[in-house]
């Protein structure tokens, strides 16, 4: 299996494990579609996500759009190559997405 999505302890917190691309982006999309109905932040631990393509980015942007200010998408500890893609696609510039390191999680 290319991608695994695991619920971590907290509510609305998931860990993505593997490679996210157009072949499996809709799995993530299905999970997020359900979550964005409720308000509040959604946290995605990316420390074990080793690859993301434009389809994966698009799923994140769409979830952000659908949250529509009722919460943020928090991207936790992306690997350097995934972080590079997030930056190229401008996700770090958006108010409704936060990219944080492992220690920063408790902050507002």
């Amino acid at each position: 299996m290319l991608l695994e999505i695991r619920e971590t302890g907290q509510p609305r917190a998931f860990r993505l494990i593997g490679e996210l691309d157009i072949s499996n982006a809709e799995i993530l999309s299905a999970v997020l579609d359900r979550e964005v109905e409720e308000q509040g932040d959604i946290s995605l631990d990316l420390s074990e996500l080793t690859f993301i393509d434009s389809s994966g980015i698009r799923v994140l942007l769409r979830a952000m759009d659908e949250l529509n200010g009722r919460g943020k998408i928090v991207l936790v500890s992306p690997t350097s190559s995934v972080h590079h893609v997030l930056t190229l696609m401008g996700l770090d510039d958006r108010d409704s997405i936060r990219v944080v390191g492992p220690g920063e999680l408790a902050e507002p």
Binding site: I22, S23, S54, R62, H84, L88
Partner: protein
Amino acid sequence: MVRTFPARRAILREIRQFIRQQARAHALLDEAESLALAVTEACANAMIHTNCTKIGVTWKATRDRVEIEVEDDGIFRRRVPVPEVDGGGGHRGIPLMMALLDQVSISGGTVSRPGTRVRLVKYRES
């Protein structure tokens, strides 16, 4: 070094493994992930926009650069997808390839001569 893959989404990961392996073999570790992503986007475009059946990936590394060619057997769509109609802002594959690499060439196939060729070039740091 040429490899041919069936045009299926589930194969993209294998295509990346091929690229990563070549990158390692040619001392291009820092570029491996950018190349793997650009090639993923080029192959995904072929699968999304054409009914191609196979995709050829050619790797060529020289002293000063890597050149990867992605060739499909589909027909290039001569229509400009405008985001609001075609849904969700487009996936922006070509701009992403351009942001990752130094040179991107696209030669569209035609009905009489199908097959789109995308040439991706990255210079070695020097």
